[in-house]
Every structure is written in structure tokens, then in C-alpha cells.
């Protein structure tokens, strides 16, 4: 890789996960959370990791974020192995307490810009206000996080992640703790932000409809230990909620993966790995 332009340089296939095993050393011995998972994420792609609770989605995302060492295999960003967390992979968590409570909405974004990108104060604040406006919180730029609703806090976290302009965005069920209505609205807003910025994203969820709405590609993980069970390419036509294609792909994932009775393969399935679905 030619360096010199820093981690924010854009390269195709920015992220590759190669035969990765992830383990926890717990009280009851060693638990394998993720087993033999491989995939690559292309530039501008929105990859969704879909799977039931406890299948290791968060574990995998945390390893990509550099918070968890791989037991076997390798995770590479632009060809370099991931060894620790860094602002080239900005993460949005499910929990609302990911914002610094002692900084205002714009302050949180500005702080990230200064620490992650080394921007001077003025420039950081200017961009922070711009991004806060872009997620519809301009009026709350100077409010402290504890005065915001859960959805607004997630918006700030999303603005913070986008503002840093990482090579890849990692999102771990950012809308899971929201009510159905705001979840839908946030999905739509996230989608338009991603499309406008051409962002590369890995998005973790256990909601099939959310996966189909957000993703350009969906990887389904089987539970315990998490392995790749199936892969779906989501065609542009299926992205519209309520469209026939949306319903079709949703029903297919549901039938094939979550109820365990594989129906006939359908046209929307681009490719899926030999089912380790039981």
C-alpha cells in the first residue's frame, strides 16, 4: 500500500475479514463466538451482518473496530492488519451513553474532529455545526446530551461518525433501542446520508426489514458459534419499503434462515455459501 495520505485514503476493498475466529475466555472456559468467517467489503458498499441475538454480530464488529483481538485469521483495513481501535473505523453503538455528557451536541462532534482528525478548533467547530445541522439538530447544537431523546442522541453519534470521514463506518444496532416509528425515520435518514456521502458501512442488526432497507448486501450469521450462513445481494428495487421486491427478499430471508425450512432458491439470491444452516 502506498502510504502518505493517511488512513482516510480511499481504496477499493477497504476491509477484508479472512478466516476469522473470535473467542472469549470466560468463567466456563473458552467460548467461541465467531467461527471461520471471511468476507470483504467493497468501496461504497453497505454490508449488513444479520443474525439472531447472541450469534456474535457485536463481537465481530468489535473485532473489526479493533477492540477485540482475533484468535485466528486476520482483519485487514486497506491491506494493513487491524491491531487496535482508530478513527479510520468510526463506530456507532446501540447504547445512548456513547456521547460525552460533559460536552454539548456540537462539542461532541467537534471534540471527535479535533482528536481524530487533528483539526484546529475553529475548523472543527465549523464542521461540527454543519454536521449537526445535517442530522436535523441545528437548534440543539448547544444542548447537553442528557436533555436529548434517545433518537436525538443516536443522531449525534451518527453525525460524529460521519464528520470524521472514516474509511469505513461500523454500526452496531444503532436504532435497536428506539420506538418503531423513529427507527423507520432514522433508517431513512441514515440511508440518504450514506448515499449522499457514498460511505462504506458495516451495519449490524437482527431485524430483517432493517437489513433489507439499509444494506446493499446482507450476510446472515448462524447462531452459536457465529458462522456465515447465507449471503444476499439487495437489488435497488427491493430498497423501497412496501415494494414487492422488498417483501419477497424479506420473506425469503425469514423462511430460509430464521425458520429453518429452505424454500426454492429465488432470483434475488446472488450467491450464498453452502448452508451451514441447520
Amino acid at each position: 500500500m502506498d502510504g502518505g495520505r493517511g488512513p482516510f485514503r480511499e481504496v477499493s476493498a477497504p476491509l477484508s475479514v479472512d478466516k476469522v475466529f473470535l473467542r472469549y475466555a470466560g468463567d466456563a472456559g473458552i467460548v467461541t463466538a465467531v467461527e471461520d468467517v471471511s468476507f470483504a467489503v467493497e468501496e461504497g458498499e453497505r454490508l449488513v451482518l444479520l443474525g439472531p441475538s447472541g450469534c456474535g454480530k457485536s463481537t465481530l464488529l468489535r473485532a473489526i473496530g479493533g477492540f477485540l483481538p482475533v484468535a485466528e485469521g486476520a482483519i485487514r483495513l486497506n491491506g494493513r492488519p487491524v491491531t487496535g481501535p482508530g478513527p479510520d473505523r468510526m463506530m456507532v453503538f446501540q447504547e445512548f451513553d456513547q456521547l460525552l455528557p460533559w460536552r454539548t451536541v456540537a462539542g461532541n462532534v467537534a471534540f471527535a474532529l479535533r482528536k481524530a482528525r487533528g483539526l484546529p478548533k475553529d475548523e472543527a467547530w465549523r464542521r461540527a455545526r454543519e454536521w449537526v445541522g445535517r442530522v436535523g439538530l441545528a437548534r440543539f447544537a448547544d444542548a447537553y446530551p442528557h436533555t436529548l431523546s434517545g433518537g436525538m442522541k443516536q443522531r449525534v453519534a451518527i453525525a460524529r461518525a460521519f464528520a470524521v470521514q472514516p474509511a469505513i463506518l461500523l454500526m452496531d444496532e444503532p436504532f435497536a433501542a428506539l420506538d418503531a416509528l423513529s427507527r423507520r425515520r432514522m433508517q431513512d435518514e441514515l440511508l440518504s446520508l450514506c448515499e449522499a456521502a457514498g460511505s462504506t458501512v458495516i451495519f449490524v442488526t437482527h431485524g430483517i426489514d432493517e437489513a433489507v432497507r439499509i444494506g446493499t448486501r446482507i450476510l446472515v450469521l448462524s447462531p452459536h458459534p457465529g458462522r456465515l450462513a447465507a449471503e444476499y445481494l439487495v437489488p435497488e428495487a427491493a430498497r423501497e419499503r412496501g415494494s414487492a421486491a422488498f417483501a419477497e427478499i424479506e420473506a425469503d430471508i425469514h423462511a430460509r434462515v430464521f425458520s429453518g425450512t429452505p424454500p426454492e432458491p429465488q432470483a434475488v439470491l446472488a450467491d450464498f455459501r453452502e448452508p451451514s444452516l441447520v
Binding site: 468489535r62 473496530g65 477492540f67 487496535g84 481501535p85 482508530g86 478513527p87 473505523r89 468510526m90 463506530m91 453503538f93 447504547e95 451513553d97 456513547q98 456521547l99 460525552l100 455528557p101 460533559w102 471534540f111 471527535a112 482528536k115 481524530a116 437548534r139 440543539f140 447537553y144 446530551p145 442528557h146 436533555t147 431523546s149 453519534a157 470524521v164
Partner: protein, 274 residues
């Protein structure tokens, strides 16, 4: 819709201010009633050696303030206290840093605090006198002991209670080493740190006054505790009560002015107050 969201906190804040001012008046009335009861009882008792009246106490307070004795005593006590408090904070910071950095440090802190925290600081005064002799170093030693353990315990608990998500968010932004500690851990643990400082202050103040009563034989420039003690020996009971009043007033002032203001400017504003 968002209008209401904006207005709600403001309304709540003005409500709190209103509440504060009524509670202030309530307290003022209670204090006045207590002073009145004191005055009445002391007059009825008619024995100034046992219990001077409120008026006599105020007069004694006024006189010993005017002649400069009481302010000098207070200054002595406060300077000792600040020295001990400062050293206590420094040592507590070092111990918690060690505890945050390594398992050995953590166990060291855990052991030391569980051993020394239950030990009343004043109980160390004989040892301090043996080691440091009669003089300020002995007093500072017991004050450090009074501040150190509760503060270290509170800080350590505060650091440990920083949510994992917040930690990860910080490291994700590239915080590491000092910028992680000062940019994330300390502000996140501030509620615990502040309550530790508050507790340490209260312990230190009580310990100092108690220690000064035992100690100070040679010191012409003894502190507030010594002022109380010598006046009792000379049967100047009004002065004793004046001294006690000052102890209470200083304790209240630090608690309500210094710490409450610190809290209002920081954790209360950030919604971190538990």
C-alpha cells in the same frame, strides 16, 4: 413539537430556582427559631459557665474577631488543612493512577483502603507525635490520612464505573494515554471524584479540630481547636461557643458554597448527578 422540547428544561430550571429560594427561607426561619430557643433556655438557666446566651456568644465572636485572635486561629487551621488536603489529593491521585494501570496497583489500593479506611485518623495522632514531634507535620499527617482513603476509594470506584461504551467511543476517536485519562476518564468519573473530595474535606475538617485539641501545648499560634480548648480551660465559655460556631460556619460554607457551586457548574449541568 420541538418548541416544547426546548422549553421544558428551561421551565424545570426556573422551577428549581424557585424551590431553592423557598427552601432558603424555610431554613432561615428554622435557624432563627433555634437561636431564639437557645437564647431563651440560656436566660432561664442563668449560668453563663455552662451555657452562655446566644447574644453573649455573638458578642464573644465579635470581640475575638476584632482583636484578631480568632482570625489568626482560623488562618492557622485552614492553612494546615489545605496543606494536608493538597498532599492527600496528590497521594490519592497517584494511588488511583497505579490502580488504573496495573493489577498490582489495584490490589495495593484495595488492601490499603480496606485496612486504613476504618481507622479513625485521630487514632494515628500518637504515632504521628512519635514520628514527627509536636508541630504542624503531625497534624498534616493525620489530615492526609483522613483525606486519602475515602478520596482514593471514591476515585477508583468512579473510574471503574465509566461505562464500557463510553470508553470504547473514546478510544475509537483516538484517545490514548494522557488524552484518554484527562479527556475521558476524569470527566466521566467526576461525580464520584467530587463526592470523594467532599467526603475527604468533611473528614479532614473534623480530624483537624479534634487533633488540635489534643495538641498545641507549645504553640502560641495554635488553631481553632486549640482556641476552643484553651478557652474552656480558662472557663471562657462564651468563647468556646464562639469557636464552635466558627467550626460549624466554615464547614457549612465550604460544603454549600464551594462544593455546591462546583457541582452546579459541572455534573449538574451535564446531567451526571446521581
Amino acid at each position: 413539537m420541538s418548541d416544547h422540547a426546548l422549553d421544558a428544561p428551561r421551565r424545570a430550571a426556573s422551577g428549581a430556582r424557585f424551590h431553592l429560594s423557598t427552601s432558603f427561607w424555610r431554613r432561615a426561619v428554622i435557624l432563627a427559631a433555634l437561636a431564639l430557643a437557645w437564647e431563651a433556655y440560656a436566660r432561664w438557666l442563668g449560668n453563663g459557665l455552662l451555657l452562655p446566651t446566644f447574644g453573649e456568644t455573638l458578642a464573644a465572636l465579635w470581640n475575638s474577631s476584632i482583636n484578631g485572635e480568632l482570625p489568626a486561629r482560623v488562618a492557622t487551621s485552614l492553612s494546615l488543612l489545605l496543606a494536608g488536603y493538597g498532599i492527600g489529593i496528590a497521594v490519592a491521585a497517584t494511588l488511583t493512577a497505579l490502580a488504573a494501570l496495573s493489577r498490582w496497583g489495584e490490589d495495593l489500593l484495595g488492601l490499603l483502603t480496606s485496612m486504613f479506611n476504618p481507622l479513625p485518623a485521630i487514632a494515628l495522632l500518637p504515632v504521628a507525635l512519635l514520628w514527627f514531634g509536636i508541630g504542624p507535620p503531625s497534624l498534616i499527617f493525620v489530615i492526609v490520612h483522613a483525606v486519602l482513603w475515602p478520596l482514593a476509594l471514591a476515585c477508583h470506584a468512579g473510574f471503574r464505573a465509566v461505562p464500557p461504551t463510553l470508553r470504547m467511543a473514546g478510544r475509537n476517536m483516538g484517545l490514548a494515554g494522557p488524552s484518554y485519562v484527562f479527556g475521558l476518564l476524569i470527566p466521566a468519573a467526576l461525580p464520584a471524584i467530587l463526592s470523594g473530595l467532599r467526603l475527604g474535606w468533611a473528614f479532614a475538617w473534623r480530624t483537624l479540630i479534634a487533633a488540635e485539641m489534643v495538641f498545641g501545648v507549645s504553640a502560641r499560634s495554635g488553631g481553632l481547636g486549640w482556641f476552643i480548648y484553651t478557652n474552656r480551660a480558662q472557663l471562657e465559655t462564651a468563647n468556646v461557643f464562639a469557636g464552635l460556631l466558627v467550626v460549624v460556619l466554615i464547614g457549612l460554607a465550604v460544603e454549600n458554597v464551594v462544593f455546591r457551586t462546583l457541582g452546579r457548574l459541572t455534573i449538574q449541568r451535564w446531567g451526571q448527578e446521581s
